[in-house]
Symmetry: C3
Amino acid sequence: MKKVPTSAGIALAVLTYPLAQAADTDMLLEKLEQLERRVEQFEQRTERSEQTDVTTKEIAVKSTDPKFSFHGYARSGFLTDDTRHNINGVDPYMTPAGRLGGPIGRLGVEPDKYLELIFDSKLNHKNGAYSKYRVMIADGVNTNNDWTADDSNLNVRQIFTELGNLPSFANSTMFKDSVLWAGKRFDRNNFDIHFYDSDIVFLAGTGAGIYDIKPTKEWTSHLTLYTRNYGTIEPTNDEIQSYILTTNNSFGPWQFMLSGMWAADNNERTAGAAKDGIHMLFGGSMSNFYGFGEGSSKAGILFGTGLGAQPKVLGGEGDLIDDAQSVRLYTYGVHPLSDTWRIAPALMAQQSKDYYRNGDDYSWLSLNLRLEQAITQNFQIAYEMTYQYQDFDTGQAAGAVAPGIKTSAHGDFYKFTLSPQFTLDTRGGFFQRPSLRAYVSYLTWDDNLNNFNYGEALDKPGTFSGTGWDETDHWLYGVQMEIWF
Amino acid sequence: MKKVPTSAGIALAVLTYPLAQAADTDMLLEKLEQLERRVEQFEQRTERSEQTDVTTKEIAVKSTDPKFSFHGYARSGFLTDDTRHNINGVDPYMTPAGRLGGPIGRLGVEPDKYLELIFDSKLNHKNGAYSKYRVMIADGVNTNNDWTADDSNLNVRQIFTELGNLPSFANSTMFKDSVLWAGKRFDRNNFDIHFYDSDIVFLAGTGAGIYDIKPTKEWTSHLTLYTRNYGTIEPTNDEIQSYILTTNNSFGPWQFMLSGMWAADNNERTAGAAKDGIHMLFGGSMSNFYGFGEGSSKAGILFGTGLGAQPKVLGGEGDLIDDAQSVRLYTYGVHPLSDTWRIAPALMAQQSKDYYRNGDDYSWLSLNLRLEQAITQNFQIAYEMTYQYQDFDTGQAAGAVAPGIKTSAHGDFYKFTLSPQFTLDTRGGFFQRPSLRAYVSYLTWDDNLNNFNYGEALDKPGTFSGTGWDETDHWLYGVQMEIWF
Amino acid sequence: MKKVPTSAGIALAVLTYPLAQAADTDMLLEKLEQLERRVEQFEQRTERSEQTDVTTKEIAVKSTDPKFSFHGYARSGFLTDDTRHNINGVDPYMTPAGRLGGPIGRLGVEPDKYLELIFDSKLNHKNGAYSKYRVMIADGVNTNNDWTADDSNLNVRQIFTELGNLPSFANSTMFKDSVLWAGKRFDRNNFDIHFYDSDIVFLAGTGAGIYDIKPTKEWTSHLTLYTRNYGTIEPTNDEIQSYILTTNNSFGPWQFMLSGMWAADNNERTAGAAKDGIHMLFGGSMSNFYGFGEGSSKAGILFGTGLGAQPKVLGGEGDLIDDAQSVRLYTYGVHPLSDTWRIAPALMAQQSKDYYRNGDDYSWLSLNLRLEQAITQNFQIAYEMTYQYQDFDTGQAAGAVAPGIKTSAHGDFYKFTLSPQFTLDTRGGFFQRPSLRAYVSYLTWDDNLNNFNYGEALDKPGTFSGTGWDETDHWLYGVQMEIWF
């Protein structure tokens, strides 16, 4: 109460009160009316809110624990060559370098229907800990037909569970953010150059590990043990198992990864095959385009010996010999040139020696340039150019495999692709998906590369890799959808 | 009202009123202020709640954006013949006409466990555009056992993405409602006669298209390009690819669909096979039962030549010859006869000439009648009768395939099925699902149809299609669940 | 403000004001009280709404109908023997008793990657009835590699729909809670001993049934008909189908289950195979540990003849002979010993006679003890000990299969496993999942058991079951994730 009538003021008040009172009453009424309006607004607002709730309930899948989520990757389209036939063997690994992991730019050379379906189930425990269970089912076929049971490659690529935020680790500065996992998985810290459809590191298999150990404020460390299988020792039926132990460390923008791998008795499976190996990566990431402006960029070097000489799929190739060694360089960046243009150069290069046989020597270098030009909010044109140099020597005498089949070859490969594309927002950058695209590609190469063979039993003599092509220039046409989410 | 001023109290009230009034007013003000505080608390609370809601919505939208949804179709049950054995080869396409797409009524002749799992992920962009990604995984097996790895046909039938509501099209009256898509899919505008388990048009494969072009207010048009594969040219390993370009148009209740198809060098794969074709559909839909009351009905005619002579699966049969031609008629309707009875007649008929060989001539007509009688809210009885006429001539001399095997045959087939069914609501009409059913079917046919063969290498001589039956009447018993959602 | 006191009205107002004022005040009070009531209603409403929100979030997955939910089971890890090779043939059924369903404790002997993905879709009809559609996709492989297309066993194990709360049954005390179903499924009422990875009853196949019939208040009854397939009669291609009709009843803690099974002409598929059988279970459940304190326990006996002599998978083994008979005992319990220790003993034992051949006689007994010791809130150690006794006689003369291969054998098997484990909450009991574990197991057995064979064509002579081991003690090492939800 604001106005307290004092004894002294009462007489005056008696006379003036009605007026004052009227004013007060007016004020009161006005306040009441204001209140009424506010309450009415509340009523409407609450009703709206309740209706929205119903809508929310109807639309959103607000779930009890465990909480489901769905993620995935897919590409799906067709590809046609100049004779209007279907293309088998065309993909980013179609050149002879492909067997050594040497990719060309992926745009316009993917005829397959490949997908990864990811089903996650997350459980939040009342003590704060959570678990995340993940399953990935994948498939890849080439046929354009809709019933693919005869070609199906449906398989389960990942089944693992992570545990995080464990109260038992809450008091350890080193482990309190750590995540434990076990099962079959792609390592969480793998990374790729999208334009090549190539991981830089693809660590995967069945095992266990711990992520996000923090020995210091700057240093984050991950420790994992993966197993993979190489095949069977005949006639004992023993399955060779390889073990890949990895310490993966990041210090701010720098990454250092060291892996050791062992596969007992692998030389009994294939004479001369390595039983162990070492693999290293030194890399760096920049949140700008090589220091020259907006964008991002990465670069690094990989080195391996023995079973570690497969630079990408760690421990993934059981037929490497003891002396095998590889070095691989990689770099790529993305950069907006203007409001409508953006550019993404990428380079990978590798030299491998004493890889499959003592005395062999393989070198390749792939240079790729992707440009995108936004035309409207939903339509853009992508351009991709690849140059690949290859120099291969199996260390065998010419003609050792079969007459006319080369055991050494070198030469250049070029690819040019033009691709009009529809997307939700062309200003979204290089990684905006889904993308609906058409494309035309022109491929050409030195005919010196034809008829090269890695020195084994021949499946397709006289061809450029697996495509069945004995000519050295080709046009490809196709459409494709690509998405990840 | 708490204090009622009596006549007697008025005089006093005149004097004391101001004070009392002041006190009352104080009280009022206090109450008002209390109210205000409460209302303010409400306001804050509601705002917090709404912010939380917004957060919830944002989180929900974030976690559900992309938004997941699950759809599917499945049927699952067993079927037993009069010897209590499992039935292979029994399905709606079990008669000789089945190879030409001539179905019988499906009720009571489906022993398989078939399912389609559909996983959708929808993304709404802030500019209003959306994308819908769809994957369909399907499987069909006959075994009743629960571990079916040896029989599994699990495969991916669809992987595609649609883009809609694109801002770039917003200003075009013709394209503003258009939907773009690319990938592998069943065409959105396919339609079927459920009682036959037969699509009228089954356009599917890998390609791209645009739906819902509106050249005029009445005219909606869809343009699609699909590819399919027919197999391999030996010994070059070239895969034959066919291209099906379709313009599908609706003008109010009328539909006109025209497709051209091409498959380069298909005659090198199989001598005499067509390299192209034309396919047409004229159809109509009525939102009543042929003008005779409640319900709906459809009718139309399909015509095709060369590769287009396969009237249902457009471009789906690569072995048709150049001169092949087919005409197919279809009609069906659904109609409530009373509160408890409903009726659904359906007819399909086809004539094909010079189809697999010059001089062959195939005619069939299928007439099906489904009746349903609601008994209680959840229990109904379905009755189905099929009559099928077949007249086949492969154009080859009798005995050309093997002694006793016919190259021409004609005759009648009859099926009667009685099926008690449980459902959520028997008043839901013919398409209410799920349905749990038992059934008994009686099948009989002219024995003239036995031992007919299309003139190729024999797999099951002396049988009625693939069933292994050499007698001409059979009883079948079974249970089944069917659902779509 | 409605009434503005004019100068002219002031005099009158002075006299009449108090009355008017009283009326106004009454009005004000009334208005205020109305407001208060409205505000109170708001308060209650908001609170209700907030409670509903919480309830909604916590309990209901309020979604658009049909409502999706995701469930599953998975285990995924690797196992290594003392030569660091991958292990094939090691699992809970690795001993000779395994073929007769005699398991050892599962902890530390599972190298496989097995999963069950369950996709449910529930539909609530406005009349109160609901349907639940369920699909289960499963896979199991041994390879540790991530691309498993060549090994994939992906298959659909369940496709069924249940109908419940049907208005048509609402007035029947016996059927009002009943659930109808049809399709392919695992029976809802199957139950297992987790520590053995063994169901006590595994009733599964394609059929139909009704659950939760309540003839009396105490008696709940389930009636089901399942079909399974046994294979083909050569050369007629007829598929043998078996029918399993089961009445499964519970009376409070007691269960009685009676099944009859028939497979017409099964003796034409395999000479001497039974064409029918009987199977019975008497069991009981206690909500305490055998009456000796906290926990739970189960025990029972199974008996079967002919096709029913397979005690676990009802009707699941088509090669049993007419005279076959089996009796199986089972019991297990779980019990907290203290805040940090818990114990779970389990026993299964079986005797089978005239099983595969007249005169054969098989006995085994498995005793398993699992102990768990919580160390921290997220870390525990599990200990498992198995003793298995086996006494087998195929009834054939020694050497009947091949020289050195035994047709009778008996002896003891022992397994000890130590397993450190991480979980969300170690106080959650034996069935808290997910669990991330490492383990080491020691296995040993009488060498008398080596080289025993069931008297058929040999695949791995001179081995302990399928493992390829001819020595009688082994160490196994591994890691594993296990989850269900």
